[in-house]
């Protein structure tokens, strides 16, 4: 059944989304109507105005779901299943043209050449200033000073239109022409022609949007997509050629060569033996910087201010055309896929923005169903399942092994022929260690069970020891004074601050976590039981006394029931705090548990699993609380009525 649902996921999500929207509007209208018709309690501040109103509950739930469907792009995927694939192709073009665009003041404020020139000039000025403390001799200082001057004038001459090599100018013009050509192809409805059988197969074979870890299918599946993909390849080639063009020219080429030679010559004539380490370092830094500036200028990335105008115009026109060609896709991107878009990397496309970190409800549900399958689970362990466990193992757990040591006699040694004769001692030991045949019973297991079990175990010991001590402290000056410092010593420390220590002492397995939770529950239980005991009405105790009750009977029959509301509230609080502490402790260490699952998913940036664990933790926490509320209502109906 699940597979059928999964197959029609898109349709179901679309339907649910529409129904939610309609329901939201309907509930809102209904709610407004009722407000308008209600004249009887129109006084603001009357608490009765807050009673009832299931339609607002529905509206609230629907709002959350609509927002989730919308911002996770689940709705977009349902209504425009191909949009991500097409946007991926568009993104490919964007990525391809980006090296060219980044040269011009399109996204940035300055022409790339302008900012390069400004930076290089500033650094040359800095070199002038650094010369004084560079550790050179006076003669060298003059030489290097002259070198910086030469570098500066080479840089300046590159910015002059007169010095550009005609060959370079021609190549620039060629690039502009090629961009124009590819723009024409983009505008041409026939480009790139019919898809080949191989292409079609490749496109159809890839998993759909969100069906695999690749997220967005890479190969184009629509006509528009194919066009963008084809253009992207060509643009990438043009951009590559364009970035290879260097500004070379007879005038400054000669100068640059001269500078290079001089640097080599200066380095060769240098004798380091007489210098101190600090001076040597300053020198080396300076020479390194000079070399860096030399290489930069030799790269020829600075062009005259208007030399690239032709290319800039072509790129702008191309971008405008690409924008036009996207057509409806632009609106889908802007409206159906809010706060983010599809971006193309080197080999694949991915969702960026809320579509990425907010998993789609349908995917989340599918993930939950998938990892709920006991054969899959998470890291080889089911979320919640059962296993057959022999009763003997459990009996062995409870019977201490040293019982066998008490049996008279000696443990047998092996015989010369290699056999071992069992005696009474070995038989008792077998029973004590659970090593005897018995029937198996199903026992729950899995991440969820482990987490629940830890909380319940910690809580159990916390109640078992905390309640008696709390009652005792409420009744005895000695107990209050003696144990109060102990509890107040550790209780104010946030439980998680204890976690590293406790986990180191007790190990990362269950013992440590249970002890940590026990500490949490114990303090809360002691305090609540103490409050309960202290709050017992004196007249009730007097009454019990004059009815002939003994001290023990008074504790059991008067003080304990009278403290029950506080104790149960304490348990309710303990469960909540333990639940929170447990998850964090499981994140710190361990190999099972919901917190462990979430932590592994975090390391793998698996947002869906993270959300599944968040939702699971929320639902279980709510469940615990509801159970406790039910228990409280059932066991102490007299609360507040004494």
């Amino acid at each position: 059944m699940f597979s059928a649902i999964a197959e029609h996921r898109g349709f179901i999500v679309g339907l649910i989304f529409i129904l939610l929207l309609i329901g939201l509007v309907a509930a809102t209208i209904y709610g407004r109507r009722i407000i308008r018709n209600e004249k009887t309690d129109a006084v603001f501040g009357n608490p009765e105005r807050a009673l009832g109103g299931w339609y607002w509950v529905f509206a609230g739930v629907a709002s959350i779901l609509v927002i989730w469907f919308y911002f996770s792009w689940d709705a977009a995927r349902s209504y425009f299943p191909d949009a991500a694939n097409e946007l991926c192709q568009v993104a490919k073009v964007d990525t391809a043209i980006n090296p060219m665009r980044s040269i011009f003041p399109i996204d940035s404020r300055l022409l790339k050449g302008t900012s390069l020139l400004a930076r290089d000039s500033a650094q040359l000025n800095q070199l002038d200033r650094d010369l004084a403390r560079s550790g050179f001799t006076d003669a060298e200082k003059t030489e290097y000073g002259a070198l910086v001057g030469q570098l500066r004038s080479a840089l300046q001459s590159m910015a002059s239109p007169d010095n550009v090599d005609p060959q370079v100018q021609k190549r620039i013009a060629e690039i502009a022409q090629r961009v124009d050509d590819v723009r024409a192809k983009l505008a041409d409805p026939a480009h790139p022609g019919a898809a080949s059988a191989a292409e079609i197969e490749k496109a159809l074979a890839q998993p759909g949007w969100g069906e695999s870890t690749t997220e967005v299918p890479t190969y184009p599946v629509t006509e528009r997509g194919r066009k963008f993909a084809a253009v992207a390849d060509e643009v990438a080639a043009i951009a590559k050629d364009f970035t290879r063009i260097r500004n070379t020219g007879a005038v400054f080429d000669a100068r640059i060569k001269e500078i290079g030679d001089k640097i080599k010559q200066l380095q060769a004539g240098f004798d380091s033996s007489e210098l101190e380490k600090k001076e040597l370092q300053a020198r080396e830094t300076y020479v390194k910087q000079i070399n860096k500036m030399y290489k930069r200028i030799d790269d020829g990335t600075v062009f005259p201010p208007n030399a690239l105008d032709q290319v800039e115009a072509s790129v702008r026109l191309f971008e405008a055309e690409a924008y036009r060609q996207q057509g409806s896709l632009r609106f889908i991107d802007a409206i159906a896929m809010p706060s983010g878009t599809i971006e193309a990397g080197n080999t694949s496309c991915s969702e960026q923005g809320s579509g990425r970190w907010l998993p789609k409800p349908s995917d989340t549900l599918a993930t939950l169903v998938r990892i709920s399958d006991p054969d899959i689970g998470y890291k080889g362990i089911p979320m919640l399942w059962y296993q057959q466990k022999p009763l003997a193992e459990m009996a062995g757990f409870f019977i201490p092994d040293w019982i066998a040591d008490l049996v008279p006699g000696e443990y047998p040694r092996h015989q010369p022929d290699g056999s071992i004769n069992e005696n009474l001692k070995t038989k008792v030991l077998n029973v004590a260690t659970g090593n005897f045949p018995s029937m198996s019973v199903p026992v729950p297991m899995g991440h969820i069970w482990d987490s629940i079990l830890r909380v319940l175990a910690g809580l159990f010991f916390g109640i078992l020891l905390g309640v008696p001590l709390g009652l005792f402290m409420g009744l005895s000056r000695f107990a209050k004074g003696f144990f109060d410092p102990l509890i107040e010593l550790y209780r104010p420390v946030p439980p998680l601050a204890w976690a590293p220590l406790i986990l180191t002492i007790f190990g990362i397995q269950d013992d440590g976590k249970i002890f940590l939770l026990f500490m949490v529950a114990f303090a809360i239980m002691v305090i609540s039981a103490r409050t309960g005991a202290t709050g017992t009405q004196l007249s009730k105790i007097h009454a019990a006394h004059s009815l002939g009750a003994t001290k023990r009977q008074i504790i059991k029959n008067v003080i304990l029931p009278n403290s029950l509301p506080e104790i149960l509230t304490g348990i309710r609080i303990s469960i909540g705090v333990c639940w929170g502490t447990l998850v964090a402790a499981e994140m710190l260490a361990g190999t099972t548990g919901i917190g462990f699952v979430e932590n592994v998913a975090r390391k793998q940036s698996d947002y869906e699993i993270i959300w599944v664990t968040i939702i699971l933790l929320g639902v279980l926490g709510l469940l615990f609380d509801l159970i406790m509320r039910w228990v409280i209502n059932r066991t102490i109906p007299w609360r507040g009525k004494g």
Partner: protein, 265 residues
């Protein structure tokens, strides 16, 4: 024969602030088996303190209290107590409240159940055995408290304003109930009240106490309790002797209260 004897009882409280409050000074009296005593006095004159001393919840700082020639040291089943607010165990049902004392003594279960039935009938609560006490009205709760105390068969019944929180009608019914029980069981009863009428009606003997320090001011012997066993309570209240006594005691207490107010103001 059971007899309660108070021999020059002194009671001084020491507050946490270090002050000493003398609540009772030189209180002496004796109470014979089957007597019905009501205690009256202005607020703060030590009535509750006296009752708590007899119940054994407090120890006198001076003097001796004894019941049946045995000195009182601590609470005991032979001295049953009915509190102003009932002090019922609200987590138990009516029947569980009533048989509390017997259960603590591990009394035979069958017999206990039978006794509970009997007592619920006497106090007019038959059929309410399984009702949680918090669902009862104030008057019903007070009757449960009465049954809970009486089922233990105490020699002496102590009541601290048992009817104070009840409305006039319920109160009158409860007064008849107390008189009925007194007659039928022949118990010694000591009852504290704020109401002069109630004190006159429910007192074979009546103590008026004076405050600061608390002491016995005046004692009356009255016929009205005997009358109340047969006659209508309202008729008694209109009897000239009743009216005369009432006015006398009222003005006595009024004077005492005025004296205190004058002191404090």
């Amino acid at each position: 024969m059971s007899e309660l004897v108070a021999d020059s009882i002194d009671m001084t409280f020491h507050t946490p602030a270090g002050e000493a409050v003398q609540a009772l000074k030189d209180v002496s009296f004796s109470l014979k088996q089957g007597e019905l005593l009501s205690v009256l006095g202005p607020s703060g004159c030590g009535k509750t303190t006296l009752l708590n001393l007899i119940a054994g919840f407090l120890r006198p700082t001076g003097g001796v209290l004894s019941l049946n020639n045995r000195e009182i040291d601590g609470p005991g089943v032979e001295r049953g107590m009915v509190f102003q607010q009932g002090a019922l165990f609200e987590w138990l049902t009516v029947a569980q409240n009533v048989d509390f004392g017997l259960r603590m003594k591990k009394h035979n279960k069958k017999e206990t159940a039978k006794k509970v039935e009997e007592w619920l009938e006497i106090v007019g609560l038959q059929g309410f055995g399984d009702t949680p006490t918090y669902q009862l009205s104030g008057g019903m709760q007070q009757r449960v408290a009465l049954a809970r105390c009486l089922i233990n068969d105490p020699d002496l019944i102590l009541m601290d304003e048992p009817l104070g929180a009840l409305d006039a009608l319920t109160r009158e019914k409860m007064q008849s109930l107390v008189l009925k029980i007194w007659k039928e069981t022949g118990k010694t009863i000591m009852i504290i009240t704020h109401s002069v009428e109630e004190a006159l009606l429910l007192g074979e003997r009546l103590f008026v106490m004076a405050p600061r320090p608390g002491r016995l001011h005046k004692e009356y012997r009255l016929p009205f309790a005997e009358w109340g066993l047969e006659g209508d309570l309202r008729d008694i209240k209109n009897h000239p002797q009743f009216v005369q006594n009432r006015e006398e005691i009222l003005s006595m207490i009024w004077n005492m209260e005025e004296e205190i107010m004058g002191k404090t103001l």
